[in-house]
């Protein structure tokens, strides 16, 4: 198991190194010079040069890459070109919104999807299954911003249980912060739950057809016992894969929802940074997201091994 983890860790480090190179290269070749963007079209060449020097844009690319990577390793992400504040500080502020939101949404989606998927699988072809599958079809088809607007309409405007947008901040207390994250989390979670429930159902149905399920029944387990004791754990592998992908998506892909609920999250930060050519912020946030995705995959890999003993011995 330890060897398996070390091997995964090695591939994780390699992925990160390659990702940093790719991100740096892609953003370098993207058109638009931040200095000229900041100073406008009428800027004097010497002012431009001075700003370029100040931003560190005049040194060779290799050196800039190394400074950037070295800085990130020590927690120094550089200074934003537009806001003139440390990028690390900006990211940290936004992270406190995006990370809890992603975790909240993922928890909700799992809590909805598992029972729904298991229920549907155990009642294959019966009305309960058809109802759940119909609902998930809807959940997959309808975009999450529409859910978001409906939630605002019902729970914020009509019922007035939640605020329609904005983030209270963690200093106002856990309850207040969670309250402002609840509607966005639900809006994010519903489509994900629909996908996850479908995966859970089909994974379980595959497992239910396996020979060892018949063996379990032959031992005297009831249908339900066999499902819980032997079916679920075997069905978890594809489900874990989807959960891992969903977390990455929720962390990085919530731009629209953050926009709808006016949340100061990472998605909005990237959006703003791109429109103002604040390349250092874009690079850093993208790198951070890549790091998060790779870390999540690492955790999913470890979870695979915990679930399936065959992966532990086959390194």
């Amino acid at each position: 198991m330890l060897r398996y983890a070390l091997k995964r860790l090695l591939s994780l480090t390699l992925s990160l190194a390659i990702a940093s190179l790719v991100i740096f290269a892609v953003i370098e070749v993207a058109p638009g010079d931040p200095a000229s963007f900041m100073l406008g079209v009428n800027a004097q060449p010497d002012t431009l040069a001075a700003l370029r020097a100040e931003l560190g844009l005049d040194v060779p690319k290799t050196e800039r890459y190394l400074t950037w990577v070295g800085g990130m390793l020590t927690g120094d992400f550089g200074t934003s070109y537009t806001y003139r504040t440390p990028v690390s500080q900006m990211i940290a502020d936004r992270m406190w919104v995006s990370l809890p939101l992603a975790l909240y949404a993922l928890t909700l989606s799992t809590l909805i999807a598992f029972p729904a998927g298991i229920y549907a699988a155990s009642r294959r072809g019966k009305p309960g299954d058809i109802a759940v599958m119909g609902a998930t079809q809807l959940g997959v088809a309808v975009p999450n911003f529409w859910f978001a607007m409906m939630l605002v309409l019902i729970f914020a405007i009509n019922l007035r249980w939640f605020n329609a947008g904005g983030f209270a901040g963690w200093d106002k207390g856990f309850g207040a912060a969670m309250q402002s994250l609840t509607l966005p989390a639900i809006a994010l979670a519903l489509p994900q739950a629909a996908i996850l429930a479908r995966v859970m159902r089909s994974a379980l149905l595959d497992v239910l057809g396996e020979d060892f399920m018949r063996t379990a029944r032959a031992k005297g387990l009831s249908h339900r016992q066999a499902l819980w004791r032997h079916g679920l754990r075997n069905a978890l592998i594809p489900v874990l894969t989807i959960i891992g992908l969903q977390f990455s998506f929720l962390l990085a892909g919530s731009i629209i929802i953050e926009q709808v609920f006016y949340l100061p999250g990472l998605g909005r930060l990237v959006f703003q940074a791109i429109s103002s050519r604040d390349l250092i912020v874009v690079e850093s946030v993208v790198m951070l997201l890549v790091f998060a995705v790779i870390m999540v995959n690492f955790v999913v890999d470890l979870a695979y091994a915990a679930v399936d003993p065959r992966l532990r011995s086959r390194t």
Partner: protein, 532 residues
């Protein structure tokens, strides 16, 4: 009183009648074998007793276990019965165990769901049972997972689960079909021992008459969901009444006559071939270790000769086959077909490949279901420089389909419209259509029913006459190899331990391994032949 009494049992699933008025009796300590071909309803009879049928199944009649009617039980009562009063062993040991649970947990589960006892006590029982089935915990700790065991060992775990509570009835559904002959003999021995020791009744489902001939007390022959003949084993085998039973019996031991081998000209030359596989490293920087799958194999196959290759699973048969086909690189030695090396790196040498074709075991998995038969069997045409087109192509297809006993009209059909035996005929047509010098049959008749197998063997003999076939016939079934080959090689752990004239090797084996294989292979008793 009998232990199991099945009276007038009928089963339908949806609109299909699966069983029609089945009667069967089994006493304590008795072994009753239910035999028949696929679709005869033998497995469904077993599952009916187990009450593990699909939801749409409808049962009528009566099944009594020690006087208790099973058909009227509630689901809860059935669960109590399964595992405790009736144990079941399945065909596929590779998939019958939950891959994510340790063998100890799985054996303990049978005990714990039926008996309230502390886990430590259940573990002790699990140890005892595993020791009884030949997996002593000193060598096979309870923490082992199924994938760490061989097929035979896994079947022992399944048996341990089934007998953990000493059920009164043990149902074994093709328990040894997926196993090698020597392992089969051991498992049959174990089952027989358990029946005597525990006084259980055993209902054994099998397609192989030879397996039950010296094991079962009674034989029940089924066909199309009906019992056609039943009786005491010796009596039934001596005085077979029903033509179907006689047909089954004759087909199991079907003999063909091959045309004589023409004068010996070498076609395939295999010299000192070695194939190593790299094992996964045990430590990050340790020196890689190798598993030698094929170890210095040399032989020559002559034009017009039919050569057999037998051995147990894992002995290197399949690796050698792939190497001959040029699909695997070998570490040492040469494989020459008509003087040309078969392996030429990653670009297959068409001039060699067009002279070799292969027929695989699985008649269901080896065809693309979306292509029609004409396209399927003309696939090898891409190996030719000028593939036939138009009427020429149609003629070739018609000729081949006729040669393998199908109709030219079948060319427009899809593969799902054919039975297993017909599919194997199509596979042979596909191999034959470009008239290769050499055909490899890789377990080509192993998945077929005995009667179909006999027909395919007849077909092969006919084709030998018509097309002067040269083939390498790879099989674990010694009876088939004996009749369908001129010469045979016995492979063990990557080495050819014995080779020679087939009849010579079978009647007077020289190597101890060959002797062991032959001794383990189930044989039909000879006394019945000619008696009807």
């Amino acid at each position: 009183m009998s232990l199991l009494e099945i009276r007038n049992l009928s089963l339908s699933i949806g609109a299909h009648d699966i069983l029609k008025g089945v009667d069967l009796t089994l006493g304590p300590g008795e072994i009753v074998a239910v035999t028949g071909e696929s679709g005869s309803g033998k497995s469904m009879t077993a599952l009916s007793v187990m009450q593990l049928l699909p939801e749409s199944a409808h049962l009528s009649g009566s099944i009594q276990l020690a006087g208790q009617e099973l058909l009227t039980l509630s689901e809860g009562q059935k669960c109590t019965l399964r595992g405790q009063s009736i144990g079941m062993v399945f065909q596929e040991p590779m998939t019958a165990l939950n891959p994510v649970k340790s063998i100890g947990d799985q054996v303990m589960e049978t005990i714990l769901i039926h008996k309230a006892m502390p886990p430590a006590q259940a573990e002790e029982r699990a140890r005892e049972v595993l020791t009884r089935v030949g997996l002593p915990p000193e060598r096979f700790p309870l923490s082992r997972f199924p994938h760490e065991l061989s097929g035979g060992q896994r079947q022992r775990v399944v048996i341990a689960m089934a007998i953990a509570l000493r059920p009164r009835l043990l149902i074994a559904d093709e328990p040894t079909t997926a196993l090698d002959v020597t392992t089969q003999a051991q498992i049959l021995d174990l089952l027989q021992g358990l029946v005597t020791e525990y006084g259980m009744g055993m209902l054994m489902i099998t397609h192989d008459l030879a397996v039950v001939a010296d094991l079962a007390d009674h034989i029940v022959v089924m066909r199309h969901g009906e019992v056609v003949e039943t009786g005491h084993t010796r009596h039934l085998l001596r005085h077979m009444q029903h033509p179907y039973t006689r047909m089954l019996f004759e087909a199991s031991d079907h003999q063909v006559t091959l045309p004589p081998v023409p004068d010996l000209q070498p076609l395939l030359a295999v010299a000192d071939v070695v194939r190593d596989y790299r094992k996964p490293r045990t430590r990050l920087f340790s020196k890689p270790e190798f598993h030698r799958a094929v170890d210095g194999v040399s032989f020559t196959l002559h034009r017009g000769e039919r050569l057999g290759l037998v051995g147990e699973s894992g002995c290197g048969k399949s690796t050698l086959t792939r190497a001959i086909l040029g699909l695997e690189k070998v570490q040492r030695g040469h494989i020459l077909l008509d003087g040309t090396p078969v392996f030429s790196g990653h670009t297959p040498d068409r001039s060699v490949r067009r002279n070799m074709q292969v027929v695989f075991q699985d008649p269901f998995g080896s065809f693309n279901p979306r292509h029609k038969v004409d396209r399927l069997i003309t696939e090898p045409f891409h190996l030719l420089d000028t593939p036939p087109t138009g009427t020429d192509r149609a003629d070739r297809i018609a000729e081949m389909l006729t040669a393998v006993g199908l109709s030219p009209d079948d060319a427009g059909k899809y593969i799902h419209e054919f039975s297993g035996g017909q599919r194997q005929r199509i596979a042979i047509a596909r191999a034959l259509i470009i008239r290769p010098e050499l055909i490899l049959f890789d377990e080509a008749v192993s998945a077929l029913d005995v009667s179909v197998r006999a027909q395919i063997l007849d077909l092969l003999a006919e084709l030998c006459d018509a097309y002067d076939l040269t083939y390498l016939f790879i099989s674990h079934d010694l009876n088939v190899v004996r009749t369908i080959t001129d010469r045979v090689m016995v492979m063990q752990a990557g080495k050819i331990v014995e080779q020679g004239d087939t009849e010579q090797v079978f009647s007077d084996p020289q190597h101890p391994y060959t002797e062991a294989l032959l001794a383990a292979a189930p044989r039909l008793p000879k006394f019945t032949q000619g008696v009807a």
